[in-house]
């Protein structure tokens, strides 16, 4: 009953806000962004027309890609897969590497944030490894695993570590003294203090780290797949370039971009669900 009332109140408030904001929303959410896209398509068109050997026009690219767009999940023999399958293969690698990275990075971040000796021992390592391009780990990974897929996952794993470790450590070490005083006055033991106070208090930081990690991981997988080959959106880009099929490269760029956006959006939604707070509140 109370929930129903609340919902209807929100719905009514929402409608009122929409009525007031409608012209602005239309302009800010539809018109101006559309103008941006229009601008870049015109620029592409002009460049393509001026130097037609360099690249196809947007219309030509669209026609050339029609098969990929209409049938994202075709299977025409080994290695000849729709772009949807390629995307899923890349996503699978990224998610495995990212999840393994999070499983290692969050506890490490806690350790560094809570213990000075751990911080002193691990901080120099992190500072040295953080600026290294994750691709530099690829030969090492190939030497260890001797297989493309685990190596790609390993590189994503390494990529995902640093931002999550650093942000988790920052979040854990900057938990408000007030919250810790509450824990002390309530005589919480160490474990309760971690689970009831420090973890929830630093969740916004942890999620910031995870979102940076996932963003970089998605950047890196394309480059990794270009080097390792196999099935994946990154190798698709490289393969189509080798076949001088620039139209498909344009499509791949768009697909990679939209997927990255969706990944970040999804993680943001999970953050809202887990922290019970709107993202802006941290």
């Amino acid at each position: 009953m109370a929930i129903n009332l609340n919902l209807s109140a929100i719905a009514i408030a929402g409608q009122a806000a929409w009525r007031r904001a409608k012209p602005i929303v239309l302009r800010d959410v539809v018109l101006l962004p559309a103008l941006g896209f229009l601008g870049i398509i015109i620029l592409w068109w002009v460049v393509a027309l001026l130097n037609h050997e360099l690249m196809p026009t947007p219309a030509e690219a669209f026609v050339a890609n029609l098969d990929y767009i209409l049938n994202p999940f075709y299977q025409r023999g080994p290695g000849n897969l729709g772009i949807g399958w390629l995307l899923l293969a890349s996503l699978k690698r990224v998610l495995w590497g990212f999840l393994l990275g999070a499983v290692v990075a969050i506890p490490l971040g806690f350790l560094i944030g809570m213990s000075k000796p751990a911080m002193l021992a691990l901080n120099p390592l992190i500072q040295i490894f953080k600026p290294v391009s994750p691709l530099a780990w690829l030969p090492i990974a190939l030497a260890i695993f001797n297989l493309a897929d685990p190596s790609a996952i390993f590189v994503i794993f390494i990529t995902s570590l640093w931002p999550t470790i650093i942000n988790t450590a920052l979040g854990v070490s900057s938990v408000s003294k007030d919250y810790l005083d509450v824990a002390r006055v309530l005589e919480m033991n160490r474990w309760r203090r971690i689970t009831k106070i420090i973890l929830p208090a630093s969740l916004p930081y942890i999620f910031t780290g995870l979102r940076i990690s996932l963003g970089i991981a998605w950047l890196v997988i394309v480059a990794v797949e270009m080097l390792t080959g196999g099935i994946g959106i990154g190798f698709f880009v490289w393969d189509e370039w080798s076949r001088l099929n620039l139209s498909s490269v344009f499509l791949a760029v768009l697909v990679i971009g939209v997927t990255g956006l969706l990944l970040d959006f999804a993680l943001g939604k999970i953050q809202e669900l887990v922290t019970h707070r709107p993202r802006t509140a941290n």
Binding site: D178, Y179, D181, V182, R184, V185, L186, E187, M188, R192, K196, I197, P200, A201, L203, T275, H276, R277, A281
Partner: protein, 279 residues
Amino acid sequence: MVKSNSVYNNAYEPSLSKPGFLEISNLVKSYPTPDSGEFVVLNGVDLTVGEDEFISVIGHSGCGKSTLLKIVAGLERATSGTVRMEGREIRKPGSDRMMIFQHYGLLPWLTVRENIRLAVDEILKDAKRSEKISIVNEHLAMVNLTAAADKYPDEISGGMKQRVGIARALAIRPKMLLMDEPFGALDALTKSKLQKQVLDIWESRKQAVMMITHDVDEAIYMSDRIVLMTNGPAATIGEVLEVPFPHPRNRQEIRETKEYFELRNHALNFLDRYFTQDE
């Protein structure tokens, strides 16, 4: 030093009634300085608080009054001297001395109800689930927050947040309440309303309270005795004023009396004197 008369008791006269519930004796707090000296914050504080006494501590900023409260809470350790409650020395924080924080100390990821429930879960570990629920509900009602029980701290006003802090503190039935400028972050109107609410609650179930404040009117309205601190560094108790009004108190009525004026002027003069010393 002002001369004591019947209204103003000197700090160093031991209380004549029953032995103190909380006894602070010769408390010193100092921090080492980088040049291997020491910075003395509190120097020789002696104070006794009765088990149903409401005490206010007033002083200028930086006089160490918050440090004094934190030592009683167990959140900081004294350099020397002792704090005893019911004869036992205080060495660490405990739920028998529950804090009410200036900035509320609410956990923003928990609702109002969950904030209170967390404290109840931690302290009343053996209570049944139904008991815990009724304790939480009872204290939500006590501070008139039943309607806001499922809101998050970000969604309610400062006055409401502090009422949650008070409900949380009372819900675990501490022997003593420690309040660190509990109304310091509130606007004047909310502040006076909440002072009345807190006093009403205290009058209905008296217990030991130590409240840090820098508002003389608040101290007179609410407390039984007012502790005036000298300025830091090396602050100590300058005077202790006895507030002669019986409970339950009516703010308007006591404000009309001659004693109120005398008490207020005396306290303000004391604070002014220390204020001008600085300059």
